[in-house]
Symmetry: C2
Subunit: 242 residues, 2 copies
């Protein structure tokens, strides 16, 4: 029995998505709950990808293998889950479905408050608190669209081999002082979005020119990109499968 | 030196506005910080009124007496305050200004999510999760406007003498599944808004008729009103002075 679940979580009180001994993780909390619905047999929750500590998800997807079909799965799981995780949908799927390998595209959104500090938003929107030149950011954003080697936006000590990714869509919207930057792509590696956003902010501040993005991409070296934007502004919005 | 401050706070991690020994309160946190700006002399923060545990404020007002004028008051205070309190404005005022006694009107807003549970909103919007008949609620709301004895909406064991209050404005709006009910009045006593909202929800559910409000007001007895709505949906929006 392979199930596909779609779920949200508030990343604030988690040390990240991935299970780690002695730390509160999204995966750990869900696996503890699902074990109870699986006749006390271990359950492995395989998500579309990880998210870091403080990062949120509105439409994370995972697959899980169960011994039997479970009645009222969604309701029973939600009643056992902590209040910062919620399962929106549960579907029986073919065993060929893989939440990580079958991903077609992913959408992320990063939120920045350019207005006055708001305590209610402190864990949900980056409280930047100054104005940004959105035209310049918009222009810079357009240079990120397409297939590029994004190594300059990787974690400093990252050692993976392949940094080539495709960004299909990137757009910026502003509403009531909150700037939302949406990225749709075939895949993103760790810190990629937060490093792109940090660089876009420096462009919006006038510290760099929009065209610098082209140069940064070419360099394929982390030291040329901007600071890493903080986790609380980032949301995994949804994952699309074939 | 009398200062008037306008401030916001996220009520989630406070046991309420009022200082209480051994408990984390908004007043306690602000007084601790302001003492440092007042040459280590005690400061009493006198707010327009209290709010209960879990209730938020966007535009709470208080007055404070200082020994001397403080340069960069707002900036220095905010740098010392915890992240769930923020001072928006500091003004030197006449010593005749009293944050509680000079109140002309107050505005509160209560937010209800009729859509699916959202973990991000769990401390900021009441996660009701079902649909409500807004027309009936709107009609019921109109009966609350005016000067009435609101004793039926008081705390069960409340013993104050005067429950007559004037509601100047009451309106209901819906946006993306979130219902916001705004009340403007000359004053509100403890639990009054949460008890009115709890009753309005029962009307929106069809368990009571809108006209029941008239009967409940007449009874002047808590047992006739509905349940108390939870604190996390409630915001003190602003306070108006003469």
């Amino acid at each position: 029995m392979r199930y596909r679940i779609i779920f949200s979580y508030d990343g604030t009180l988690f040390q990240g998505y991935q299970k780690q001994p002695g730390k509160r993780s999204v995966q750990g909390e869900i696996e503890t709950v699902l074990r109870k619905l699986n006749h006390d047999h271990d359950v492995h929750v395989c998500a579309s990808g990880r998210t870091d500590a403080g990062v949120h998800a509105c439409g994370q997807v995972a697959h899980i293998d169960f011994l039997y079909e479970v009645d009222d799965f969604q309701k029973r799981a939600n009643s056992l889950l902590p209040p910062d995780i919620y399962i929106h949908q549960v579907m029986l799927v073919d065993s060929s479905f893989h939440a990580r390998f079958s991903v077609k595209k992913k959408e992320y959104c990063y939120k920045i408050n350019c207005g006055e500090y708001l305590p209610f938003q402190r864990n949900y929107v980056y409280q930047y608190g100054r104005s940004l030149c959105l035209d310049k950011m918009q222009q810079a954003l357009s240079y990120l669209i397409g297939t590029h080697n994004f190594r300059s936006f990787a974690k400093t000590d990252a050692t993976r081999e392949d940094y080539v990714r495709t960004i299909l869509e990137a757009r910026l919207e502003e509403k009531n002082g909150i700037v939302s930057i949406t990225f749709v792509g075939t895949g993103f590696f760790r810190y990629m979005i937060r490093n792109m956003v940090g660089t876009l902010i420096e462009i919006g501040e006038g510290k760099r020119a929009p065209e610098d993005i082209l140069e940064i991409l070419k360099k394929e070296n982390r030291i040329y990109a901007g600071k890493t934007a903080p986790p609380e502004g980032l949301y995994l919005m949804n994952v699309t499968y074939e």
